[in-house]
């Protein structure tokens, strides 16, 4: 499978949010720890709902968590 056409700062944001674990974030968003890990690594593109939920946990707008890669049309 091709990697997701966008980057994300979830790892950094977790660190800044009192070193939140992937499991904690997963619990807050309603997905498994493995799914958070897959999203962080760009192996899985989350649904719009999950993307918004992740952004909401960090209190950031969506575009500060997920960024489209400029070199991809």
């Amino acid at each position: 499978m091709a990697p997701a056409p966008f980057n994300n700062d979830i790892r950094t944001l977790r660190f800044l949010a009192s070193e939140m674990t992937q499991g904690d974030l997963g619990d807050k968003v309603g997905v498994t720890r493995q799914t958070i890990a897959a999203i962080e690594q760009g192996k899985y593109s989350p649904s719009l709902e999950v993307a918004f939920r992740i952004a909401h946990v960090f209190g950031k707008p969506l575009e500060e968590v997920f960024r489209w890669q400029n070199d991809i049309p």
Binding site: M1, G30, T32, Q34, T35, Q41, K43, Y44, P46
Partner: protein, 140 residues
């Protein structure tokens, strides 16, 4: 490794062991006789018991060890993996059904038809569970 992935591994190995035993020990020399049909029925009983036992014990073991994970609902990524695996398993299933229909024109015995159907289901299940495990390992 998530709870569901562990259950998938158990399912994969249970299928391999149970049906591996079935196909290796089935009395192929009497497949065309009534005893051959009886052997299919008789051997499916322990196969079913093996699979149900392995699945029950594994699910109980991991549910006790990690109850939080076991109680989690299937999330969207797991649902996608589930759907993709089922989709891929559809192809061997259709091929097997067609093979069985074509075999009818060659007047195969009931035992041969039964074994062809069992092989079809087993291959489809191995493709389903195997592909799901592959997607779990890859992250998607």
């Amino acid at each position: 490794m998530s709870f569901r992935e562990k259950i998938h591994w158990a399912s994969f190995f249970a299928l391999l062991v149970a049906f591996g035993w079935y196909f290796l020990t089935y009395p192929w020399k009497i497949i065309g006789t009534a005893a051959g049909v009886g052997a299919v029925a008789g051997m499916l009983v322990p196969v079913t018991i093996i699979i149900i036992s392995v699945m029950t014990i594994t699910a109980a073991f991991f549910a006790i060890r990690t109850p939080k994970e076991a109680n989690l609902k299937e999330d969207e990524r797991e649902r996608t993996i589930h759907i993709r695996g089922t989709h891929l398993a559809y192809y061997p299933l259709v091929l097997g059904v067609w093979a069985n229909m074509i075999a009818m024109f060659y007047r195969l015995s009931v035992g041969e038809h039964l074994n062809l159907l069992i092989a079809t289901v087993v291959i489809a299940e191995l493709v389903r569970v195997g592909s799901q495990l592959y997607y779990y390992r890859r992250g998607y």
